[in-house]
Symmetry: D2
Subunit: 144 residues, 4 copies
């Protein structure tokens, strides 16, 4: 298989530190696949809350994940202290594609690269355009 090489830290405009937990490791002694998604979700949410994008409570923007995935380059596991790099590779009208890479301390190459395609929905769960001021808040993460 030819695969995309792991991205490097300088390809991500923002980072969130991530703590691992004892039970994140499964019987094989490394991070279970599901744990990656817990970390990705958490990193994105912390960044959104720190950047004025409300995702909790009655006034929250309601984004729905329509697709996600992850490529694994090398194993990580508890007690690794990780860093999640964030970037948006497509900021569309009502949806965007955000990528999250996990880096181990002292490593320049990502251990894994995940992505989410998120769609803004209205009260009837239909896709709805993102207002310009919401898109502006995502701008710091957008890369070419």
């Amino acid at each position: 298989m030819s695969r995309t090489p792991p991205p490097r830290r300088d390809a991500f405009p923002a980072f969130v530190p991530m703590q691992t937990r004892w039970n994140d490791n499964d019987e094989y002694g490394h991070l279970n696949n599901a744990t990656y998604l817990e970390l990705f979700d958490t990193a994105i949410t912390y960044w959104q809350m720190d950047n004025g994008i409300e995702v909790r409570g009655p006034d929250a923007w309601r984004f729905v994940v329509v697709e996600n995935g992850c490529t694994y380059f090398r194993e990580v596991g508890f007690p690794d202290r990780l860093s999640a790099g964030l970037r948006i590779t497509r900021l569309g009208s009502s949806s965007y594609r955000i990528e999250v890479a996990l880096f181990r301390e002292g490593e320049e190459e990502a251990a894994s690269l995940g992505y989410f395609v998120n769609v803004l929905t209205d009260a009837e769960a239909r896709p709805t355009p993102m207002p310009e001021d919401l898109k502006a808040r995502f701008a710091p993460l957008v890369v070419d």
Copy 2:
């Protein structure tokens, strides 16, 4: 240490089958402690929903856990198919104590015994008496 012996199946008036998951096992190859609480919570909730006690949605009874705990008698783990035995050992005015035991297939003695002290709360999160018809719904679980 002298410890309470493990209870047997005939000490529980109701049972809920429980499926384990690959990632329930931690690095030691057996169920992580936190997983037990996931299973206990789930067993109690399934029983409540099957017995007309609404715990989800706008009309839900809101019980708050003030205390819980577990005694472990023997290890269990994925891929065990488990059975959760339920019993209420104290049904008070606004609170009750419910116990959940996990049994492995073919075993009469519990592998673990957990308990929860739950308090019914009102809209201001204060303890409030359980109405008689709610208490009646719990009656099938009450043991001496």
Copy 3:
């Protein structure tokens, strides 16, 4: 966005029943993304164990996930009783692509479709060809 339509039950040769848990739902009241991977992993592992493919213990085949992903068609959540459909869409020399779809009770169309690309590795964590008798065990899942 144009998306692949959800697959139907008759597109999967095998099924595993899946129990949801109270805490599988996140604050939005439906299954958290990470939970899907817990279920996918568990369904695949149960099938493998039921079909003579050892994945635990000292004699286990050691498959490494190099890539996975999921498309979400409609929301599911606790207390749904789900069914996981399994199929292999590519059975290569040292790797295979397995797809897992989650179906709600009484529904013919999948609520979500996940996939994993798994590679068999040797003791030095290098890709290694699957022996013919191992490939034969996967045969019942292979679809065109």
Copy 4:
């Protein structure tokens, strides 16, 4: 009910910072009970590893949890940044009782107080005395 009042920070000799995750909150919008145990376990393990008590790998000390529990004083939830206070209230021959309290940022009183009774076991899973140098490593956590 009369209950033990929540302990304060100055009752704990050591602390470990704890990150919460988006999916730690359940449908009620606060930390699920099982998550507390994930955090307790993780705090204890980080402290042990930082203090020369090996709990992973072939040379690990193998402690078995025989009993645990938690008292909940007030709700916490994602995105709280928490601090876990640790103390040992009984250091016996082959077992010890360790308590873990969770504190929210800026609060002096614990939001919850958990405990674990851990027993050192030998290769046959029987209780075995802790050597003096192992007990000495736990000493910094022991309180009256």
